[in-house]
């Protein structure tokens, strides 16, 4: 097991350094002088320009700059935002719970609906429930979620008037963030109605974000179930006279779930890409919206730091999934 973990780390660590090079290179490929960009409309004198260049270290050779950058990254210093002057890491940590809450809710919706859909489709292979569910899944998989989110708003906020369009909670409620998760904080605040307000605000963006992972999970569950259902041990279980419920629910599902769990882990990156669009549309104050805004404001330290932090999160989640997978399924460990 230890050698398996070490082998995974041997792949992950170079990838992390690769991402730092990518984040570093992206910023250096931006045409134009970063100091002129920083100064913006005001402009600045030549002396001040040279002074700033020395201060930021951009007059030194690239390799030296990169080493300095890596040193900073490893000590948690990702620079500060041009706009707000707060450290990038602080801003990230402040906004991250909002994105996490949205993503976890979306993933829960996706699993709760996608898993049964896949199982039902597999059991009814070739019949109408299979065709309907898989047709729906492929439609969900093809969905432009920036459009889907607009349609949800149009129907549920505009036409039916059920849900609000923006923010995480009604302005009627105010409390100090404890965990950063609105659902938990609203319960902790003890204010009646606060929790429901938070749920109301969350449900639409979470549904929009859940669409694609739900479709992926449903499709994966179906094909994984079909594969397992044709195995010999299932026939044995049936021959023993076990109830179909037990054969499918216990014997088949347990093995069918292994690839599904991997797929759920792999969806984390896709989920984040979706969060960028969802947060922008619902004005959800999370990482995705922050990054899109910082790009349009040309706030380069935020762009650079944000990419690095998001990529690191994705790498760590995938590593965790890999290791868990190795724990669950001993066959994986040897394959490496």
């Amino acid at each position: 097991m230890l050698s398996f973990v070490l082998r995974r780390l041997g792949v992950v660590i170079p990838t992390f350094f690769g991402v730092t090079i990518l984040a570093f290179a992206l910023i250096h490929m931006i045409p134009g002088d970063p100091i002129v960009v920083m100064a913006g409309e005001r402009g600045m004198s030549d002396e001040r320009h040279a002074e700033l260049a020395a201060q930021l270290g951009i007059d030194r050779p690239l390799i030296e700059q990169y080493l300095a950058y890596i040193g900073n990254v490893l000590t948690g210093n990702l620079g500060e935002s041009f706009v707000s002057r707060t450290p990038v890491l602080t801003e990230f940590l402040e906004l991250f719970p909002a994105t996490l809450e949205l993503s976890i809710s979306a993933m829960l919706i996706a699993v709760v609906l996608g898993l049964p859909a896949g199982i039902i489709a597999a059991i009814n292979r070739g019949k109408w429930p299979d065709h309907t569910l898989m047709g729906a899944a492929l439609t969900g998989y093809s969905m432009p979620i920036f459009w889907w989110a607009l349609i949800l708003i149009l129907v549920f906020s505009g036409y039916l008037g059920w849900t609000p369009v923006t923010n995480r909670i009604s302005l009627l409620y105010f409390f100090e963030p404890v965990t950063g998760f609105m659902l938990i904080d609203s319960l902790l605040s003890g204010q009646p109605g606060a929790f429901w307000s938070a749920v109301h605000h969350l449900i639409l963006p979470a549904t929009a974000l859940a669409t694609i992972p739900m479709a992926v999970i449903a499709r994966m569950t179906r094909s994984s179930m079909l594969e397992v259902l044709s195995d010999d041990y299932i026939r044995t279980a049936r021959a023993k006279g076990l109830s179909p419920r037990r054969v499918i629910g216990i014997h088949a599902l347990r093995n069918a779930l292994i690839p599904v769990i991997t797929v759920i882990g792999l969806q984390v990156g896709a989920l984040f890409a979706g969060a960028i669009l969802t947060e922008t549309i619902f004005a959800w104050p999370g990482i995705g919206k922050w990054l899109v805004e910082s790009i349009s404001r040309r706030d380069y330290p935020v762009v650079q730091g944000g990419i690095l932090l998001v990529a690191t999160t994705v790498i760590l989640v995938n590593l965790t999934v890999d290791i868990l997978y190795g724990v669950v399924d001993p066959r994986i460990r040897r394959r490496g």
Binding site: T132, W147, G274
Partner: protein, 323 residues
């Protein structure tokens, strides 16, 4: 003939010999004598593919969209940029105040939505072709190199792909556009880079599987050079999964470029790109639902069609799934 595994067709679909025979007269003729001798590989492929009703529907829709795109000046009722100042936000034809002049209604500047969607199809299909060609060609070369040279070169290429994959696609595309500057061309380059790992990894995996086979050893004994091995002997045998991936790649390309357009980083208004159309008209959505609904449906149906076709191709080309 059993039913294919990914049959996403109509609810009432029943796959049988009769239905696949009724697809075309030539198919009927050749299955009859196909009993004695094996049919031509292309025909065999077409029979397997057309058995999947969903894939066939996808193909038909794409052909229609492609024809509309090519013939846009002939089929579109108006020019995409013509503004009818006396018909702002006019509803579609089935409303009391809708007219046949603007079948799907008009936007806030009085431009015909149907015409903008038809001209937008030109862009979206061009985007698909360019992005898929760019990423497929680069991915094949990188994958072949990694598969043939192994060792250090392979490690560098594959780690680079890991790095690209660890950044969420849209975020990386946004970052690349931020560096290159917004615009349709840069958006396409960004999307092509983002989808590169899937082609590279797929090529490399097939190359490694193929290299161990006898025909490769045989031709190297006869004296085939490296380039001949790579491109003439091995590559054609790796094409099946790549064709499937490229078909699915069209949908990714169209979706991601539209998403960039929607965020204001892709095609710039007044270009009638589908994502840009959505972004432009978003603020009028509550007053006029048709301004966002139809461009989005165009994206959805096109992407869905490519996905249906990709699934059908996979079933038809993948020998492992073939009965």
């Amino acid at each position: 003939m059993g039913s294919s595994i990914h049959a996403f067709g109509d609810v009432a679909e029943t796959v049988s010999v009769d239905t696949s025979n009724s697809q075309g007269s030539n198919a009927t003729a050749s299955t009859a004598d196909g009993v004695e001798k094996a049919p031509h590989p292309l025909l065999e492929f077409w029979l397997a593919f057309s058995e999947n009703k969903g894939a066939l529907a996808g193909l038909i829709f794409i052909v229609i969209v492609a024809l509309a795109a090519v013939l846009a000046p002939q089929v579109a009722p108006h020019l995409p940029q013509t503004q009818f100042r006396d018909a702002l936000l006019q509803p579609p034809v089935w409303y009391a105040d809708g007219t046949w002049q603007f079948i799907l209604g008009t936007d806030d500047l009085g431009r015909d939505i149907l015409s903008r969607i038809i001209y937008g199809a030109r862009l979206s299909l061009t985007i698909g072709v360019i992005v898929v060609t760019l990423s497929l060609a680069t991915g094949i070369i990188l994958g072949l190199t990694a598969g043939f040279f192994r060792g250090f070169v392979e490690a560098i290429i594959m780690r680079l792909m890991d790095v690209i994959m660890s950044v969420p696609t849209l975020l990386l595309a946004i970052a690349i556009v931020a560096v290159l500057g917004p615009g349709l061309e840069n958006a396409m380059i960004a999307v092509a880079i983002v989808v590169l790992p899937s082609y590279t990894r797929l090529t490399r995996a097939s190359v490694i599987a193929e290299r161990g086979k006898v025909y490769v050893t045989a031709s190297s004994v006869v004296g085939a050079g490296l380039l001949r091995q790579m491109f003439v002997n091995v590559l054609p045998n790796c094409m099946a999964p790549l064709i499937v991936q490229a078909t699915l790649g069209f949908s990714t390309a169209i979706l991601d470029t539209a998403a960039l357009g929607f965020l204001g980083l892709g095609a710039q208004p007044p270009t009638p790109e589908w994502g840009t159309l959505l972004a432009e008209s978003r603020q009028f959505m509550q007053r006029a639902w048709w301004v966002v609904t139809f461009p989005g449906l165009a994206i959805l149906f096109t992407v869905l069609s490519f996905n249906l076709m990709g699934d059908g191709l996979r079933d038809a080309l993948d020998p492992k799934l073939k009965r």
